[in-house]
C-alpha cells in the first residue's frame, strides 16, 4: 500500500480531542487504587501544559460500576449522567474528560443512545428537571483523560527529564500497553486507533522513547470485568484472565506494563502478587514481578516528578526496577512517608521483597 493510502486509512481511526478548557471528572475507584494518578494528570495539564481544567465538587459517580454490575437500570444511569452534564453546562465548559474508562464507555453509550433515540433523551431531560431542576447541554467534545495525554504526548516529550530507555544498555524499555475494554471495544470510532489498532498508549510509549511489545494476548481483557470480581468466589476467573496475559507476554521479557483503565493496573498489579502466593510464579525478570503503571504515572516519571508523589508506593508489585533502569532519582527511605510520620517502613505492608 502506498504511504498516501496508509495515511488515508489511518485517518479513519483518529478522533477529535479538544485542546483546552476541560471539565474533568474523577473515577470512583482510581482515587482508592492509585490516588496519585489523577493528581498527576491535573498537575501535568495545569502546571506543565498550562491548560484550563475544572473539577466540580458536586460531581458524583457516573453509576457505571452499578450499571455493569447489573444493579443500576440504564434509565437511572442516564439520569445520573445527565446531572453530570448539567454540572458541566453550569460551570461553562463543553469539553468533558472522564478519568475512568468505564465512565467514558458509559457516556459514549448514552450519547449514542440519545443520537439514535431522541425521545429517550427527551425523557431523561424531563427526569432530570423534575428530580433536580437542572438542564444540560451534551458535551461538544468527549475524550478520555488518556486521549488528552496522547494529544499532548509530544509537548510532554519536549519537556521530559527522562526517556523510557535503559540507561545501562541504551536500549528502549520493552513496554506492554494494555487498553481498557470499555475504551474502544464497544464504540471503536470513539477511540484513537479503534478497537483493532488502539494507539492511545502505544503513541505515548513511542514518543517517550520506549518500545511497544506486540504479543498474542495483547487485546485480552485483564479480568477486571465487574461481575468477575464483585463476588469473591468468582475472582478465580478474574485471575485466570490476567494469568493468560502474563504467560503470553512473559517470553517477550517486558520491562513494564502501562494501562489507561482504573481496574486494569489494579488487577494486573495485585494479581501478580496473588499468583505468586498461590503458585509461586513471577513473570518479570530476575525473579521479580512486572511493574504496572498508569499513563499519568509514566508521564509524571518522564517529566521528572518524584515517584512517591505519583503514588508509586501504592503498587503491590515494586516499581523500583523500572526506576533504576531509567535512572530516575528517588529516595528509598521516603517511600512510605505517607503511611508513617517517622518514615519507617511498615512491616505489615512489605510484599514482593
Amino acid at each position: 500500500m502506498k504511504n498516501e493510502g496508509k495515511k488515508a486509512v489511518w485517518s479513519e481511526y483518529q478522533k477529535e480531542i479538544a485542546d483546552d478548557k476541560f471539565f474533568y471528572v474523577r473515577s470512583c475507584i482510581r482515587q482508592n487504587f492509585f490516588p496519585g494518578s489523577e493528581v498527576a494528570f491535573l498537575r501535568i495539564l495545569k502546571e506543565v501544559l498550562g491548560k484550563d481544567v475544572y473539577e466540580h465538587p458536586c460531581h458524583t459517580t457516573c453509576s457505571g460500576i452499578g450499571y455493569h454490575g447489573d444493579i443500576v437500570p440504564f434509565e437511572t444511569a442516564m439520569t445520573v449522567v445527565a446531572r453530570q452534564f448539567a454540572l458541566m453546562t453550569e460551570a461553562g465548559y463543553e469539553n468533558y474528560v472522564p478519568s475512568c474508562i468505564t465512565s467514558f464507555g458509559l457516556y459514549t453509550e448514552i450519547l449514542d443512545t440519545w443520537h439514535h433515540f431522541p425521545e429517550v433523551e427527551k425523557k431523561i431531560r424531563k427526569n432530570l428537571k423534575e428530580a433536580t431542576g437542572r438542564e444540560f447541554e451534551a458535551p461538544k467534545n468527549l475524550a478520555h483523560a488518556s486521549d488528552v495525554i496522547f494529544k499532548f504526548r509530544k509537548e510532554i516529550a519536549a519537556k521530559a527529564k527522562y526517556k523510557l530507555i535503559n540507561k545501562n544498555t541504551g536500549e528502549p524499555l520493552r513496554v506492554v500497553d494494555h487498553i481498557g475494554c470499555h475504551y474502544a471495544k464497544m464504540f471503536p470510532s470513539k477511540g484513537v486507533g479503534g478497537a483493532e489498532y488502539p494507539y492511545v498508549l502505544a503513541g505515548m510509549i513511542e514518543e517517550w522513547g520506549g518500545q511497544v511489545i506486540d504479543y498474542p494476548e495483547r487485546r485480552h481483557c485483564c479480568g477486571f470485568g465487574f461481575r468477575q470480581y464483585l463476588v469473591q468466589a468468582n475472582r478465580g476467573f478474574s485471575v485466570a484472565c490476567s494469568k493468560e496475559k502474563f504467560e503470553s507476554m512473559q517470553p517477550f521479557k517486558p520491562d513494564m506494563i502501562i494501562t489507561n483503565c482504573p481496574g486494569c493496573p489494579m488487577f494486573l498489579d495485585r494479581w501478580q502478587y496473588v499468583i505468586n502466593e498461590i503458585e509461586g510464579k513471577q513473570y518479570g525478570q530476575n525473579g521479580e514481578g512486572i511493574p504496572v503503571f498508569t499513563y499519568e504515572e509514566v508521564a509524571g516519571l518522564v517529566l521528572g516528578f518524584d515517584p512517591w508523589d505519583l503514588g508509586l508506593q501504592m503498587h503491590q508489585t515494586d516499581c523500583e526496577p523500572v526506576l533504576d533502569k531509567i535512572g530516575i532519582e528517588y529516595s528509598p527511605e521516603d517511600k512510605y512517608k505517607l503511611n508513617s510520620l517517622n518514615h519507617s517502613q511498615p512491616k505489615h505492608l512489605v510484599v514482593n521483597v
Partner: protein, 114 residues
C-alpha cells in the same frame, strides 16, 4: 483458597499449539470413518454405559479431536464395547473400533493410561 477465598480458575481456551492430537491422529489413521462423525449424539443416546455413568462417545469424539485428552483417558474405561452405537450411527462410523483404537492409542502414547 484459605488465604484469598478463591483459587485460580483453569483457562478454558482451546490451545491447538499445546494440545496433544496424537490420539486423534492414530484413530483416523486406522479408522478413517471417524472423520465422518457429525456429532449428532446418536451414539450417546443409545449408549448402555451412558445410561448409568457420565460416559458420552460424542463428548469424547469432540475432546479427542481437540487434543484435550484428560476426560477421554478416564471415561473410555466405562465403555463396555456392546456396539449399539455402531448400529445406530447415521454416518456409518465404526464407533466400537474408534473406542478400541482410542484405548490402544492411550496405551501407546500415554504410559499413565491403563
Amino acid at each position: 483458597m484459605d488465604k484469598f477465598g478463591f483459587t485460580i480458575s483453569k483457562g478454558r481456551q482451546i490451545n491447538y499449539d499445546q494440545n496433544d492430537r496424537r490420539i486423534y491422529n492414530y484413530i483416523i489413521e486406522n479408522e478413517p470413518s471417524f472423520r465422518n462423525c457429525i456429532a449428532c449424539g446418536g451414539c450417546s443416546g443409545s449408549c448402555s454405559a451412558g445410561n448409568f455413568t457420565r460416559f458420552s462417545l460424542r463428548e469424547l469424539n469432540i475432546l479427542i479431536n481437540r487434543g484435550e485428552n484428560d476426560l477421554p483417558r478416564t471415561n473410555l474405561k466405562k465403555c463396555m464395547l456392546c456396539g449399539k452405537c455402531t448400529l445406530i450411527c447415521p454416518r456409518g462410523v465404526n464407533t466400537r473400533n474408534v473406542v478400541f483404537l482410542a484405548k490402544q492409542a492411550f496405551k501407546r502414547f500415554d504410559s499413565y493410561a491403563f
